[in-house]
């Protein structure tokens, strides 16, 4: 179910090669390599393992949330409240830390708060049947609002020293905990989505919810649990982010939902559901991370990156809709 640009005909190549070349993941991979080369050219320090490790911090937290977000979008729904969920989780942890709870409790609380937020979204969408984009516009404001209501413009920073490990620690040498966790989760999500029965059903739900329901798949239950999983993962990302910053402000992770969704779409996941791959999302995250770092090498601020990612996002979907529409077009 990968998004092959099937109608693009390149004569003179064996079919298998054409298929691989025209796969979205291949193009993304080439883009990653190209940008890697460009960054190396731009800065002599880039190839230093510690520089690379530093570069990874600016995208791993978002990339971790992009994994379950990919599942959700493949299943035909969307959640734009994740940035607010991260803030809410961070505030919950900050308050607990202030009350003197130890780090393991904070970790549990962060994930659990995200899980509850995700369940609430899932409830609105699957039980009350609010379209997911509308429901999560509401909860985006609500979760952020709760965070502000609890903290105001204050800062929570009574974290124990050991809490810093998640966002600042290293497993071996320059390999950070964040990157290790991301690699592990990406593997788990890839196997779950592409090899397991659950993944197969998620694709089916996104491609045709009615046929899926008639095939005995509990569509609403699946969607609910993906929302819950996404919430819990946002909680996890919140732990990493809070730990890296060492403090909680209610404005934390503002606007992240758009970057995360951009990663997912850029990774080749169809916004209409039913298509996509974890490999694509991982490559898109790497690409965005490298471009961001490259821009910072050139002393451009993050906001300029928006032009690059925004153009890429539109360009990618435009190209695939112009070339590959034959296979996706609605039949009359």
């Amino acid at each position: 179910m990968s998004k092959a640009l099937s109608s693009n005909y390149t004569p003179g190549l064996p079919i298998a090669w054409k298929k691989i070349l025209l796969k979205w993941e291949t193009l993304l991979g080439l883009a990653v390599i190209a940008d890697f080369g460009l960054n190396t050219y731009l800065s002599p320090y880039f190839l230093n393992p510690w520089t690379l490790s530093d570069a990874s911090f600016n995208f791993t937290e978002q990339a971790i949330v992009a994994l379950p977000m990919a599942l959700l979008i493949i299943a035909g729904e969307i959640d734009i409240s994740v940035g607010s969920t991260i803030a809410l989780c961070s505030v919950a942890m900050g308050l607990a830390a202030k009350a003197g709870f130890a780090t393991p409790w904070l970790v549990g609380l962060g994930i659990f708060t995200g899980f509850l937020a995700g369940c609430f979204n899932g409830f609105l969408v699957t039980r009350l049947r609010v379209p997911s984009i509308v429901a999560t516009i509401g909860t985006l404001t609500l979760f952020r609002g709760i965070a502000y209501a609890l903290v105001g413009n204050g800062v929570l920073k009574s974290y124990q020293p050991d809490f810093a490990y998640f966002g600042q620690g290293y497993v071996i040498g320059p390999v950070s905990f964040e990157v290790t966790l991301f690699a592990f989760l990406a593997l788990v999500f890839a196997v779950a989505l592409h090899k397991s029965v659950i993944g197969r059903r998620i694709f089916a739900i996104g491609a045709n919810p009615v046929a899926s329901r008639l095939s005995g798949i509990p569509v609403e239950r699946y969607k609910f649990w993906i929302f819950a999983l996404l919430g819990a993962t946002a909680g996890l990302a919140s732990i990493l982010l809070t730990s890296r910053l060492g403090s909680t402000r209610p404005s934390i992770a503002t606007g992240w939902e758009l970057s995360i969704i951009t990663m997912v779409i850029l990774g080749g996941v169809s916004i209409n559901g039913g298509q996509g791959s974890i490999l694509g999302v991982v490559l898109a995250a790497l690409f965005i991370g490298l471009v961001t770092f490259g821009l910072s090498l050139l002393n451009f601020p993050g906001i300029v990156l928006g032009i690059v990612t925004g153009t890429l996002l539109i360009g990618v979907v435009a190209i695939s809709s112009a070339l590959g529409q034959s296979g996706r077009r609605r039949r009359s």
Binding site: T139, A211, L313, V317
Partner: protein
């Protein structure tokens, strides 16, 4: 009477009653709310939200969504601010013209991508949102344009008092009236409803859905551009993060006002009420003495409850469905 109103337009009627109740209770309990200065400022705030929400409604009616309205406003606002800083003597007319033309051009860019390349509107506007914001930074070099650099005419147009309220508020009223007339009496306006209501039937009736989506995006863009100028003038500053995240409030005002996110249903009156509702809450809270940090929380509660209720009423009136129909790409 009330009952039949409820049956015909439950969202609008319920919302107006709620707003009246809210206004009454706030003004009785906290008379300072009725202070003319406070009311004027509340009205100006709401006018901006109202204008942009009306533009967003055009897009929502055609089963699309425009997430780029606030970024459009920021970019257009920055362009006119820079223009004004450079040519302070050019007067206000070119500024208005630039904001409208540039806004609608940005909207048309969205619309053409949706129409000609059939890219889902949420993807298009998610992309242009980032691009527009990035461009604001590039053209301004990240610097602010302050009120000191703006001409008097540029700054004061929105503050021009007229019959007790500022010109900005009148602009909001005017946009709403024009939108109402457009949707009720022009063929294009009527066809926006038809397309969103039943795209297939619209095709049978010879109405081009894609073209109308593009028109809706252009209108939304034009209004966003104009609002961008008003925003910059009202707050006396242009910078990269102007109106950041405002697109969600704009959509919320529409949804609270009963505009269906799945197209074809909604009206200007509802949108005005939705914007008023959010505007009143935002401006009443400080008066009532609730910490401004609770504003977002209360808005969020209201929006969440409103969308849950709205989807409930819509479900009932849409009749029973044997199966929810399979997803059809618009």
């Amino acid at each position: 009477m009330l009952k039949s109103l409820f049956l015909r337009a439950p969202a609008v009627t319920g919302l107006s009653l709620l707003i009246i109740a809210l206004l009454l209770s706030v003004s009785i309990a906290f008379p300072p709310f009725l202070d003319p200065v406070n009311l004027k400022s509340a009205f100006d705030d709401t006018a901006l939200l109202m204008m942009m929400a009306v533009g967003e409604m055009f897009v929502l009616l055609t089963r699309s969504v425009d997430l780029s309205v606030a970024a459009n406003a920021a970019l257009t606002g920055m362009v006119v601010a820079l223009f004004n800083a450079k040519y302070p003597g050019a007067g206000i007319l070119p500024v208005l013209l630039i904001s409208l033309v540039m806004g609608s051009a940005l909207g048309a860019f969205n619309g053409l991508l949706v129409w000609k390349l059939r890219i889902p509107s949420i993807v298009v506007t998610l992309g242009t949102l980032s691009v527009f914001r990035g461009l604001v930074y590039i053209i301004s070099g990240g610097a602010w344009v302050n009120s000191g650099q703006m001409s008097h005419a540029f700054l004061n147009l929105v503050r021009l008092p007229l019959l007790g309220i500022n010109l900005l508020s009148w602009a909001g009223v005017l946009v709403a009236i024009l939108a109402f007339l457009f949707l009720r009496y022009s063929l294009t306006g009527r066809n926006l409803y038809a397309v969103g209501n039943n795209p297939e039937a619209a095709a049978y009736a010879g109405i081009d859905a894609g073209r109308l989506q593009c028109v809706a995006f252009m209108l939304s863009g034009a209004i966003a551009g104009l609002s961008g100028y008003f925003w910059v003038a009202r707050f006396g500053v242009a910078y990269t993060d102007v109106a950041s995240g405002f697109e969600l409030q704009v959509i919320a005002a529409c949804v609270i006002g009963g505009v269906s996110i799945s197209g074809g249903a909604g009206g200007v009156v509802g949108v005005i009420l939705g914007a008023l509702f959010l505007g009143i809450i935002k401006n009443a809270l400080p008066v009532v003495g609730i910490s401004p940090f609770f504003q977002l929380f209360i808005s969020g509660m209201v929006i969440t409850v409103a969308v849950a209720l709205n989807s409930g009423t819509q479900r009932k009136t849409h009749g029973r469905h044997i199966l929810e129909s399979s997803k059809v790409t618009p």
